[in-house]
Amino acid sequence: MKRNIRVSRVFLYLFLIIVSFICVFPFYWMIVGSTNTPIQIIAGKMTFGSHFVENFHTLFNNYDMLRILMNSLKISGISVILILLIGGMAGYGFQMYKSNLKEKLYGFFLLTMMVPFATLMIPLFKIITKLNLLDTHFAVIIVSAVSAFMIFFFRQSFINYPTEILEAARVDGAGEFRIFFNIFVPSMKSTFAAAAIYSFITSWNSYLWPLIVLQSNEKKTTTLLISMMSSSYTPEYGVIMLAIVVATLPTIIIFFAFQKQFVQGMLGSVKQ
């Protein structure tokens, strides 16, 4: 009986190691691949090569990767700030100043989360064209700043906040906005951090809307560049892999640095 348990334990670990290997292998492969030539990658070379500098040069000179990275950073950065400000305020407004009408509106916005982006895409494209915002980063930012989901996320995280603190501040004569910015936000840092991480990664990885709106090459984002590179008829594997490494690096760094907030951001919407 005891032996049986030990044998099954061994199989369990073996299973977990195989699963973990499958999960991690593509990461290893892309990092190694970014230092190799296309021929070496196709030949299945699994060790670091000496082609990193060439790949780097091609990526940053021929494809203007630095500008593309800056575009992505600008779009994601501004989106995050807007989402934290607008979404945080809205979540606070819905939770701390309840009224019948507000609850009805809130319920309606929850329902809109079922509407796929494909449905919004056509009218959004028309609005952006009318406003003469086609091929601008602002068009990408403004659409990603509108998120019913983030309002929902903020409100869910605000539910357990002790309102006595707000009442006390009110008695002391503090204005509503001062209470929000000077008392409430600082005490909810971890919620805002989780929201920032979640929305940064969503924006950083977005593809469909930037694909529709951004047309000129110098406006493109990292996801658009990688997609474009890989669909060419002679894909330069090493350079593509380096581009993927560069584009994935920020999210991996954020993940390892803020693992707890990262997961909290993901789970925040489903408090049981």
């Binding site: 699963v19 400000l85 991996i252």
Partner: protein, 309 residues
């Protein structure tokens, strides 16, 4: 709450309200209106239910519906069951190195959809390393045309999606499992329950709300599938067909094509997009209904009966 205070609440909400009104509510309504019009270039005319009737006879739409349905029905159940099993394994406090395993399994979820799709496209290319591995181990005697054979291409797509999303769902289940008190498990162990029994009789029922949530989220996500099929197909956005035999033509890809690849017909594209809305709404209601326990259903029936009596 005082009226004045409630008014001040609107100040906090109004920036979001304005943006949501313009960029969310208006598009939803306008899209619905568009679904009853036909647009060719700049000329737009009201056509009533013509677009909806056209759907039934449109082979491309039916193909997109079928492709999306196949991916949904195969990928989501496999993914959620695997995630449940993995979470159950990782929830064992006696497991050594569970932090490392957890991190490894979650890691794929940080990649962008484009990045992992293209990595899989390279892995499974004709001269790629998967074919090399299969050849060298003698599993196949000639390289497989993964991405140019319809069935194999869909297989690769599903495999890639499983790689990207299983760990993501595992984290959801794991967090729900950690909310279950450990004493229940200890009591079960003392009573001599086997591990399988404990999983089926204790963990699974307590996880029902989370299973419902992940099922709905994955269903909504898969019905909107766009990035992966678009980038897994040869030639990407500009390709003539979406994968071999159009096997990657999902509903969202078809909508994109209707708007930006063929002569734009925004009206008909809106109709197709509303089909997704109706499917999502229908499936969500169905899943909520199925997610209720039998006792809840019985209680409801009893209430209804009492109401009648």
């Amino acid at each position: 709450m005082g009226k004045k205070l409630s008014m001040k609440g609107w100040l906090f909400i109004s920036p979001a309200l304005i943006l949501l009104a313009v960029f969310l509510v208006y598009p939803i309504i306008y899209s619905f209106y568009l679904s009853f019009t036909s647009t060719k270039g700049i000329i737009s005319s009201f056509v009533g239910f013509k677009n909806y009737i056209r759907l039934v006879k449109d082979p491309m739409f039916l193909l997109a519906l079928k492709n999306t349905g196949i991916i949904l029905l195969i990928q989501v159940p496999i993914m959620l069951i695997s995630a449940l099993i993995l979470a159950n394994i990782l929830n064992d406090r006696k497991l050594a190195g569970r932090g490392i395993f957890r991190t490894a399994i979650f890691l794929p979820s940080v990649t962008s959809l484009i990045a992992y799709t293209i990595l899989f496209k390279m892995l499974f290319s004709f001269d790629g390393i998967i074919n090399r591995l299969l050849l060298s181990t003698g599993i196949v005697d000639h390289p497989l045309e993964w991405l140019t054979t319809p069935k194999l291409a869909v297989f690769v797509l599903i495999l890639a999606m499983l790689w990207r999303w299983t760990g993501y769902n595992t984290v959801f289940y794991l967090s729900a499992m950690q909310n279950i008190s450990y004493e229940i498990y200890e009591a079960a162990e003392i009573d001599g329950a086997s591990k399988t029994q404990t999983f089926l009789r204790i963990t699974l029922p307590l996880l029902k709300p989370m299973i419902l949530f992940t099922t709905i989220m994955s269903t909504i996500g898969t019905l909107q599938l766009f990035d992966e099929p678009m980038n897994l197909s040869q030639g990407g956005v500009t390709a003539a067909t979406m994968g071999p035999g159009n096997c990657f033509l999902t509903l969202s890809v078809y909508i994109y094509n209707l708007c930006f690849k063929y002569v734009p017909n925004f009206g008909y594209a809106a109709t197709v997009s509303y089909v997704i809305v109706f499917i999502i709404a229908g499936l969500t209601v169905l899943q909520f209904w199925a997610g209720q326990s039998n006792e809840e259903k019985d209680a409801k029936k009893r209430l209804e009966k009492e109401g009648k009596a």
